[in-house]
């Protein structure tokens, strides 16, 4: 019996010829990522060393990545003090993959890691953020962990007691047509298998639709795999992965392709015909409460959000700018845009998208996560409704438990900004 991609990666990361589903392994880690919650990781790391008589030094400072993105620039003295504490630790430990609050190299962690070539096929990547699943788009086994577990990784360079997960194979065929995007595909999948449908399992993405999808789109699929409960969402690497790593991420060294075996054992196979999809909307207050747009058109929207680690990439901004160019955001709606990184921001600036947004009446914010999780800017008022390209619509998510969040693609968000109500972009917005 062959192995799935996660079995192949874990075998390699433990120096074994093969691993079985359910085996307990201790894989070495290639990248260990944290954001502001590194402040808590530092506390736990020092606690591990306390009383041992050993110098608290991380196992490998070149493999730790720290990116400030959740509350930037600091919204409070408490956050600023956490930032300061982390900066001091970064300097003391010699951590090199550090992205501070800077316009030349900053952004959201799940964009910074791929964009800078920190991720490779076959890597084991852990992050103190549930959307660490994002990096599976480049063929890595990448999953979210808590702060104490990260402190353990910083100490040992391995993840303790990992159970080799079973895999659900998702096969997507058919062309995404018109304004239907990877976001609609992943929302449809989550609605189909439910918010717990992949709990403790890995999703592997296959099929011609995935083969023909850009890395930018694949990042959306892997990013939101966690919303179906998946430990990881992995796209087996191919020519497109190599293209992205060489052309966008500037990788020059060898790229090792770790691939699933043809006779791998999958727990379940889910088939989707993408050509049949219309834009999909996740309705309050769970991500699996997904409806085709026909069922929700016309709902009045107070705030539109385009951005985040899910849909803040250049192609997302391009499609939104193409819809908004020369038009106006509806008078009773406000629109916030936050690109996923400053690199994307600068590219959008040179393409003219940023001016399109501002001229239409949108507010372009600095790259960051704050608005998505309700910690920094863009909070909703009581009984207000947000339509957002982000990844979660849980009660209270955008800062107010008495508000509603609907999730959608960038095209739906842009079209709806003009009309002030949920609008199918294929129906025209004039």
């Amino acid at each position: 019996m062959g192995m799935t991609i996660v079995q192949k990666i874990l075998a390699k990361a433990t120096g074994q010829a093969s691993v079985k589903i359910g085996d307990v392994v201790e894989p070495r880690v290639d990248v260990a990522m944290s954001h502001e919650n590194a402040a808590l990781v530092i506390n736990q790391f020092l606690e591990i060393y306390s009383g041992t008589g050993l110098e608290p030094n991380v196992w490998d400072p070149s493999k730790i990545a720290i990116i400030f993105d959740h509350r930037i620039p600091a919204e409070s003295a408490k956050t600023a003090t956490n930032h300061k504490k982390i900066r001091e630790f970064v300097v003391a430990q010699g951590i090199t993959k550090f992205h501070d609050i800077r316009g030349d190299e900053g952004g959201i962690c799940h964009q910074i890691l791929p964009e800078n070539g920190y991720i490779r096929p076959g890597y084991v990547v852990v992050g103190t953020d549930s959307h660490t699943t994002t990096h599976g788009a480049l063929g890595a086994f990448s999953f979210g962990i808590g702060a104490t577990e990260m402190a353990s990784v910083w100490t040992l360079g391995t993840v303790l007691n990992v159970e080799v997960p079973a895999t659900i194979k998702v096969v997507v065929t058919g062309k995404l047509s018109g304004f239907v995007s990877p976001k609609d595909l992943i929302l449809h999948l989550i609605g189909k298998i439910s918010a717990q449908g992949a709990n403790f399992k890995v999703i592997e993405f296959h099929g011609e639709t995935i083969k023909n999808m850009s890395t930018s789109g694949r990042l959306v699929l892997s990013n939101m795999s966690v919303e179906a409960g998946a430990t990881a969402g992995i796209v087996p690497p191919d020519e497109e992965t190599v293209r992205y790593l060489r052309e966008v991420a500037g990788v020059t060294d060898d790229i090792e392709m770790v691939l699933p075996d043809a006779d791998a054992n999958y727990e379940r196979i889910v088939e989707i015909d993408a050509s049949k999809l219309t834009p999909q909307i996740a309705c309050p207050h769970t991500v699996d409460n997904v409806k085709p747009i026909e069922e929700v058109v016309g709902i009045k929207i107070n705030q539109i959000v385009i951005g985040s680690c899910t849909n803040g990439r250049l192609d997302d901004l391009e499609i939104a700018a193409n819809i908004l160019r020369g038009k106006k955001v509806h008078q009773e709606t406000r629109m916030l845009i936050f690109p996923a990184s400053w690199k994307i921001y600068k590219d959008a600036l040179s393409q003219g998208y940023i001016m399109d947004f501002i001229s239409a009446g949108a507010v372009v914010m600095n790259p960051g996560c704050g608005c998505c999780l309700g910690v920094h800017q863009g909070a909703l008022g009581d009984k207000e409704i947000s339509l957002s390209t982000t990844n979660r619509n849980f009660k209270g998510r955008q800062g107010n438990p008495n508000a509603d969040v609907y999730l959608c693609s960038p095209a739906v968000a842009a079209a709806s900004a003009i009309t002030g109500v949920i609008t199918d972009p294929s129906k025209g917005v004039n």
Partner: protein, 167 residues
């Protein structure tokens, strides 16, 4: 041991419900408990008014703790010394709970309401109010090893000392 159910939840209780994102800049386990279920005002008041004895139980259906990896969701409940009984848990929340020593019990058929009295043993839960019994699903051995060591800090400390030849 007899415990009282202080709250009963349905499916998909997210970490945003357990510990809202706006309090994430607070990280110290001594400070996080006050914000537990901040937007579930009745439950939060019950906890903060110290009307909840240690080992009280929160009961939930499926996928408790879904969403964010924020460890505060586990530390805030650990701070109140609660026991969480759910039909199943989301992965990161369950792992965080084990790492921090929050008692989480997987009980695939659990049926209990607020104020019910539960008798919890190693293998089963008896709902003394309804008279029904429910089997507990044992944790995988790999996770039990962390609990037995007293949490992930102690477990890692032991591994570190072994590795450095100090033990």
């Amino acid at each position: 041991m007899t415990s009282i159910v202080i709250a009963k939840f349905g499916d998909d209780i997210s970490t945003d419900t357990i510990y809202p994102g706006r309090f994430m800049a607070t990280v110290l386990p001594t400070e996080t408990p006050q914000y537990a279920f901040m937007d579930e005002t009745e439950l939060n008041a019950k906890l903060n008014n110290k009307r909840v004895p240690p080992n009280s139980v929160i009961v939930a259906n499926n996928n408790f703790g879904c969403g964010s990896s924020r460890e505060q969701a586990a530390s805030t409940l650990k701070g109140w010394e609660l026991i969480i009984v759910a039909r199943n848990f989301a992965r990161i929340f369950l792992q965080n709970s084990i790492n921090l020593g929050l008692r989480t019990i997987i009980c695939p058929t659990i049926d209990a309401n607020e104020n019910d009295e539960l008798e919890i043993s190693e293998t089963e839960i008896i709902n003394k109010t309804s008279g029904k019994k429910f089997a507990i699903e044992p944790l995988p051995l790999a996770r039990q090893a962390i609990i037995d060591a007293g949490g992930l800090i102690a477990y890692t400390k032991k591994k570190l000392l072994e590795k450095s030849g100090k033990n």
